[in-house]
């Protein structure tokens, strides 16, 4: 479902993961890491909405923020982290089966 811009973004993120991220020690506050999160968000929601989610995630990943599991929401919402949001999800210990199919495909 990604358009031209989305594909370019995915290429950029993959380039970052291969060239830059692989050479520096892991320093993530969240799982999945920001780049994986961005990749999935752009793949699922497209360049604009996925990009917004990824940008918010980058803002969230800073010192003093609590760490933990933070998956891309099933339903798109910018406020999915809040418990009042309809898109809010509890942290999952096991990945969803649908995810794995998507990644394998």
């Amino acid at each position: 479902m990604t358009g031209y811009v989305g594909r370019v973004m995915i290429r950029c993120i993959r380039w970052y993961q291969r060239r830059i991220s692989a050479n520096i020690p892991p320093s993530c506050h969240y799982y999945p890491s920001c780049s994986n999160y961005a990749l999935e968000a752009v793949q699922r929601f497209g360049a604009f909405r996925g990009g917004m989610l990824a940008a918010l995630r980058l803002l969230r990943c800073r010192p003093w923020s609590p760490c933990g599991i933070d998956d891309v929401p099933q339903r798109f919402s910018l406020f999915y982290r809040f418990s009042w949001s309809k898109a809010h999800e509890e942290p999952r210990l096991t990945p969803l089966p649908s995810h794995r199919k998507e990644q394998a495909a």
Binding site: P26, C28, Y31, W64, P66, C67, I69, T94, P95
Partner: protein, 336 residues
């Protein structure tokens, strides 16, 4: 000596210090305020009050950095406490290299961090933050003589007049902007004593944490050699830099070293490395404190409690034999 150009303003360092200007500005204001306060309390305008202003600036900065330090210490302790649980998770996924179980493992680890409010990555930040703050302090104190001579533009609260008042200050008979080479004999002696104290402080700090805060089990010969070398190399480096610095910087440095020493001693006392002599001492101390607390509250001490339990166990053994009693449902007899 180079007296016209302020070298810290040139090149890459100049750029770095330009970025740090807000912190420098704040520091000059704090120093100026303390100086005002001490002159109000009746101290001479040019002498002791400036030296005390420097020392209090050090204390203020250390007090600002301390909460971060405390937090990272606590984080480290939380990580140590989590170690068994982490080992458990790692054991669970031992030898499983497929992506799915790797992902599951990482998720579980993250969940553990989340539940314990620990940060895997964030705990080194306070140490990184400290660096620029102390650099700023150093920069401000080195810049003042140049401001006083009109070679550098005023910085924060230090206009030319204030800077001149600062550089006229004498302390222990040494002008506060003198360096080892530019001062007289008394100055040389006083500065020499300061440098020696600085070195002694640093040496003792390292010695103290080496002696009390290293677990003997983790030390191999090479790292022990390294530690011994460090013990001497850093103080000796201080001698060379101490000789080149103005007296004001030395006052700051000595005060800072004393603060660091006190903080290290506190850290070794409260947050010792597991397995080190300090940790053993802490266990004994905690035990004694608990006993004292119980004595104050009129409860039996830990040993007495242990004895009581052993006694009742022995009695139970005599009366019931060594056979373990099967647990019984409470309402078993009532039911028919």
């Amino acid at each position: 000596m180079n007296t016209d150009n302020f070298l810290l303003d040139a090149g890459i360092w100049g750029f770095v210090y330009k970025i740090l200007t807000p912190i420098e500005w704040l520091m000059t204001q704090i120093m100026w305020l303390f100086h005002k306060l001490f002159t109000l309390l009746g101290m001479p305008e040019h002498g002791l009050s400036w030296a005390l202003a420097i020392i209090f600036l050090v204390i203020v900065v250390q007090a600002c950095v301390f909460p971060l330090y405390y937090k990272s210490m606590k984080g480290m302790r939380a990580m140590q406490a989590m170690q068994p649980k982490m080992a458990k998770i790692q054991n669970k996924y031992k030898g499983k290299n497929d992506p799915a179980s790797k992902e599951a493992m990482q998720r579980e680890m993250m969940k553990l961090y989340q539940d314990n409010h620990a940060n895997p990555a964030g705990s080194c930040l306070p140490m990184l933050l400290q660096g620029p703050v102390f650099m700023c302090m150093f920069y401000v104190l080195s810049a003042i003589p140049y401001i006083a001579r009109g070679k550098r533009s005023p910085l924060g609260a230090f206009d030319v007049e204030t800077a001149q008042s600062f550089s006229q200050s004498t302390y222990f008979g040494v002008k506060i902007t003198d360096t080892f080479t530019s001062s007289g004999t008394t100055g040389k002696i006083v500065i020499g004593i300061f440098v020696a104290l600085m070195c002694a402080c640093l040496w003792y700090m390292q010695y103290y944490s080496m002696r009390h805060n290293t677990a003997p089990a983790t030390v191999n010969r090479q790292s022990a050699m390294m530690q011994k070398a460090m013990l001497w190399i850093f103080p000796i480096m201080y001698i060379f830099s101490g000789v080149a610095m103005p007296f004001a910087v030395l006052i700051y440095w000595l005060a800072n070293n004393i603060c660091n020493l006190l903080r290290t001693m506190w850290q070794v006392r409260e947050f010792p490395t597991p397995g080190s002599p300090a940790a053993e001492a802490k266990v004994i101390r905690d035990h004694d404190n608990e006993n004292k607390k119980r004595a104050r509250e009129g409860k039996p001490s830990l040993e007495e409690e242990e004895l009581e339990r052993a006694k009742s166990e022995a009695e139970a053994r005599v009366s019931q034999g060594f056979q373990r009693q099967q647990p019984k449902r409470k309402n078993r007899n009532k039911k028919k």
